[in-house]
Symmetry: C2
Amino acid sequence: MFDLRDLPDATTLEGFGKRFPELDVSALQVVLRLARLGEDLVRLMQDGLMRDGLSLRRFFVLVLLARNAEGLRAVGLAKKMGVTKATVSEVLAGMARDKLVLSSADPEDSRAQLVTLSEQGKALLDAVLPGHYQRLAGVVEGLDGDERAELLRLLAIVGNRLG
Amino acid sequence: MFDLRDLPDATTLEGFGKRFPELDVSALQVVLRLARLGEDLVRLMQDGLMRDGLSLRRFFVLVLLARNAEGLRAVGLAKKMGVTKATVSEVLAGMARDKLVLSSADPEDSRAQLVTLSEQGKALLDAVLPGHYQRLAGVVEGLDGDERAELLRLLAIVGNRLG
DNA sequence: CTTGTATAGTTAGGGTCCTAACCAAATTGC
DNA sequence: GCAATTTGGTTAGGACCCTAACTATACAAG
């Protein structure tokens, strides 16, 4: 996780625009600020969850399993989380050790295992989720309904370029 | 770096709002999308720079040193980058080994060293920056001037809560 | 049936970043 | 001037995530 504490200010970008005239300075401003904000948000999530004794990746595993009660394969988790199966393999090993998840043989494929939430996993998630979401929601308290809708619209446009 | 490939959809959040009525669902949507977009942007920067043989953290060191020609201390770099001095110490060691930066004694404090760009460092940065900024700018091509201004305004409001 | 390829999962090794402990120089307070 | 604290920097060890190589099962084609 990397963080842009010191975004180039308007003057710097201005000067840069002169050196490279083909450059789109206003675009840069927007993108850099977006990146910075995203990083800060991830950090906010991480810090809050850490206080609940949960790493961000473990939290995501819990959320995804709660949303897929029938169970998920490791590969499925990896795709949904945007990490490699190696990473999932590791985090699942730890979570199984801590009894947060259960795994059973997948009847449709003997190579695969179906991972599900344990009772402890469910309980932990229920304990953590409300606080987590409250912390996140607090961040956009300053925006009214119209502004939130407009922000979502603009983010969707940008997001389409990143697919 | 972690990534939310699978954001909860409107229905999921809806259901969640029923279980926890005090929850601000529209706020959640905005925040999660912002976090996701920020992550994607960081990944975009990283991938592009990697192809130029530069890690993101090395890139930031180069940019910060270019912006502070008189030199920076390791601690100053750490603050501007949002990482610890331990991390800076490590990356500077590697960059000095590769002759991208120079360090000289700080006349005002014999514990500190002033780090500056070497000629190779400058050359590398100049070679990499235009492409880097082009890639970033491409992301917001879909927004016109008014939309960019509005997006910046909204992001500033959100950012104030995270400051 | 057998050979080739794709897929589920694990393991080893490396990069990045953190905290904690440490050293040395600077600063502060008596 | 000297003890206590602060500050600049390094090192060790751990967390998280990656790629690459491996095992084992599934599947597809001849």
